[in-house]
């Protein structure tokens, strides 16, 4: 993955618009967050291989980036995205890596289902 390049990522988001796509969306503090610091309220969310179709996808030019996908009946968004790549299977992988290199959020879009 490379650091987000706005124009390239915007083109990639456009390329998946108006298609049935599978998404992976994940936010996390890590399972040990409240073990190491009892003041941390540990919350996260995970969804993998939900099939959606969006008509408009947009990456916003703040760092770290926010990405929103507008669907016929609702929205998907992610904030904190720092890196992206189009992998060898043509899947758009986006991630937010914190200052220590730990994943804090992932948003991934693919025309074929991700593995289990």
């Amino acid at each position: 993955m490379k650091e987000v390049h706005i124009e390239t990522l915007q083109e990639l988001l456009n390329s998946f618009a108006n298609k049935d796509v599978y998404i992976h969306l994940e936010t996390t503090n890590g399972a040990y967050a409240s073990h190491f610091d009892t003041k941390v309220f540990n919350a996260g969310a995970f969804i993998r291989n939900a099939k959606i179709r969006y008509e408009l996808g947009k990456v916003v030019d703040d760092t770290p980036h926010r990405i929103g996908l507008k669907m016929e009946h609702g929205w998907v968004y992610a904030q904190g995205i720092t890196h992206y790549e189009l992998d060898e299977h043509g899947r758009l992988l986006m991630a937010g890596l914190d200052y220590t290199g730990k994943l804090a959020i992932a948003l991934q879009i693919s025309e074929t289902p991700f593995s289990y």
Partner: protein, 236 residues
């Protein structure tokens, strides 16, 4: 006391690297004694957060990296029988509970272990650890008391010492410490930063005398029908 020989040792943990931290030394000691060891690793740690910055992996490439690390770690620990059970990281507690118990029961029926190493329920911190610990304890509880394998658990919740006291079984692994270090190093995607810190301490003249590299410690997990029976504290 010398570590007793076993018919077969079964190790059950959910994540690649759980075993390196918990039982790498004792697994190597069993190897030297000619005791057969099986490690059932339930997931590939697919949800590991450490991808680096700049990143060395993606969410999608991490499982294969960790699979290779697990294989290398098992070579360092001389664990000949590695089973990758195909579950997904962070989902074990959401699986059907009975399915999880049956997964463990099948392994026990096939391997007939005399001792099982896993996590200690309610003191294992991570939800996958807890779900694994519950399934293992339940599967063992269903075996007739007279032929039950011994069940030893790792516990590291912050309240462990206060509530459970000192570990029941303490194993000196100093003679095989190098293999434990190798096993931990094999899980580089998870441990690189930590191993670098350890190496730095050695460079600064502080020997690797930290207890976590010299001893492995376990609690005896008692079943409801064993409560009240005395537990002998032993050191090997």
């Amino acid at each position: 006391m010398t570590l007793p020989s076993e018919r077969h040792v079964l190790i059950i943990f959910p994540h690649p690297d759980d075993e390196a931290f918990s039982v790498a030394g004792i697994a190597r000691l069993y190897h030297q004694m000619g005791v057969p060891v099986t490690y059932a690793c339930l997931t590939l740690g697919e949800m590991g957060r450490n991808l680096g910055n700049p990143p060395f992996a993606t969410r999608e490439s991490l499982p294969e990296i960790r699979r290779q690390e697990l294989i290398a770690a098992c070579e360092a620990m001389a664990i000949p029988d590695l089973r990758m059970m195909g579950l997904r990281d962070k989902t074990i507690e959401f699986e059907d509970d009975e399915k999880m118990v049956q997964l463990v029961t099948s392994l026990i029926e096939e391997l007939n272990p005399s001792v099982i190493y896993s996590f200690y329920p309610r003191y294992a911190v991570h939800p996958d650890h807890e779900a694994t610990a519950r399934a293992v304890k339940e599967a063992v509880s269903r075996i007739d008391k007279t032929v039950r394998p011994r069940l030893l658990g790792c516990a590291f919740a912050n309240n462990t010492l206060a509530e459970l006291g000192e570990p029941h079984v303490i194993v000196n692994i100093e003679s095989v410490k190098d293999y434990k270090v190798k096993a931990l190093q094999a899980h580089a995607s998870q441990t690189a930063w930590m191993m670098a810190e350890t190496a730095k301490r050695v460079d600064e003249g502080q020997p690797m005398s930290e207890s976590w590299l010299n001893i492995e410690k376990f609690y005896v997990i008692q079943q409801p029908d064993e409560l009240g029976e005395p537990i002998q504290r032993v050191q090997y």
